[in-house]
Symmetry: C2
Subunit: 107 residues, 2 copies
């Protein structure tokens, strides 16, 4: 039995986004991601080979999906399912408090 | 793109635990579970064919694992990985506020 808390040791100010693997199995990987104001570089996109289910646990953020005019605003509790190869980017994350994401990659 | 909020429409008082499927794929199923004081019936155990990764999002709860002397207390942010066929039961869930769980079943 492996246990912990997703809010443990969340840093206030990180040079880069911090990714911590919480579970790794053949068909699923669960990560905690901490962002402190980070965003995807302009004109870059995530284009992932696996589908991803994301849940925002703390802070706030906005995602942009290619071809969509409006960003998706995320607050604590917001989840979003992103199919494989759906291009998206992080427009912004909260500047005042750490943003904690749960990301579930699966196939 | 499918989106929502895990804290939407959380009832204060439910006759039974409420399970809402948030994602169903071949190898993974994600559920939101709301408990309002519910517990596993005495002398009953969960014995699941798939591994489960559980995250407590709101409220509080205690899990008992067969063979363990101490219950595992869960507060917001606590996660626990439960291997397939590891027998466990919910000793109690919060009586004053709804307890919201995220459960990820996978193989």
């Amino acid at each position: 039995m492996i246990t912990g808390n997703v809010f443990a040791n969340v840093a206030d100010n990180l040079p880069d986004e911090q990714i911590m693997e919480l579970l790794s199995a053949r068909n699923v990987r669960i990560e905690r991601i901490v962002s402190t104001g980070h965003a995807t570089a302009l004109n870059e996109w995530y284009d992932q080979g696996r589908a991803e289910w994301v849940l925002l646990l703390a802070g706030s953020a906005a995602l942009i999906f290619e071809g969509e005019t409006e960003p998706l605003l995320l607050e604590p509790g917001t989840y979003v399912h992103i199919d494989a190869h759906v291009r998206h980017r992080v427009a912004w994350t909260d500047q005042s408090v750490p943003t904690v994401w749960l990301a579930i990659h699966y196939q």
